[in-house]
């Protein structure tokens, strides 16, 4: 079970800010594949992962990173602070 968070247009496209996901995905990419298979709005949000960033337990990470031991996964577009 991981807590999945969405920010900015990813949050808007999926229609929620966070959800608990029951998964055995080994990597972030595997989790993305499971989410895309759920519903068109997930498919729309994850259509181009090169336009997305991922953080694992609040540290920036990569889509091929392992999920074992991770409790919080966040998906969002490239940051635009400052």
């Amino acid at each position: 079970m991981v807590e999945v968070l969405y920010f900015a247009w990813v949050r808007e496209r999926i229609g929620k800010a966070r959800e608990s996901v029951e998964t055995n995905a080994a990597t972030v990419a595997d989790l993305v594949a499971e989410l895309r298979a759920r519903e068109p709005r997930y498919e729309a949000a994850f259509a181009d992962t090169s336009a997305l960033r991922v953080a694992l337990d609040q540290e920036l990470s990569e889509f091929d990173a392992a999920l074992s031991g991770v409790r919080e996964v966040a998906f969002f577009p490239p940051m635009t602070g400052g």
């Binding site: 540290e59 920036l60 966040a74 969002f76 940051m79 635009t80 602070g81």
Partner: protein
């Protein structure tokens, strides 16, 4: 060192009043203030979303890195989130060092970082009611590479 991620406005003068003061080893103080700009004349406000928890952690970590890398006497980062009007202050960075080169470099590094690696996302609210997420700029990503 001070890092704050907050919705409320900050008081630039009050923040700077005590910054780097009373230390014989501080010769240079640099500040940067970011202001909400309207390039098109069609913007009503800016909305900043952030990732509570991660934002504070990430900004604290990078500020500690800047302190060590440029041997700063002090550093300050305040970044707001929420809805901001045109002309409002979005954020500020301040650095204090012995020499000006370190104070300038650390402030620019922190800005380049905050623009492209800190978890903030800007949305523009137009006068016409339309909203648009601001796209990340290659130039901001490129700016980070010089460090």
């Amino acid at each position: 060192m001070k890092v704050s991620v907050q919705e409320a406005p900050f008081d630039f003068a009050a923040e700077m009043a005590g910054f780097g003061v009373g230390r014989a080893d501080v010769g240079a103080i640099v500040s940067f203030t970011g202001v909400v700009r309207d390039d098109t004349g069609r913007m009503q406000a800016l909305e900043l979303e952030h990732y509570p928890g991660m934002t504070e952690r990430a900004v604290t970590k990078i500020t500690e890195e800047a302190m060590a890398r440029w041997n700063l006497a002090d550093a300050l980062v305040i970044h707001r989130h929420g809805r901001l009007d045109i002309g409002e202050q979005i954020m500020m960075v301040a650095t204090a060092a012995r020499h000006r080169g370190d104070a300038f470099a650390a402030a620019e590094f922190l800005m380049d970082y905050l623009k492209s690696r800190a978890p903030f996302w800007k949305k523009e609210h137009g006068l016409d009611g339309e909203t648009d997420w601001v796209a990340a700029k290659d130039s901001d990503e490129d700016a980070l590479k010089r460090w």
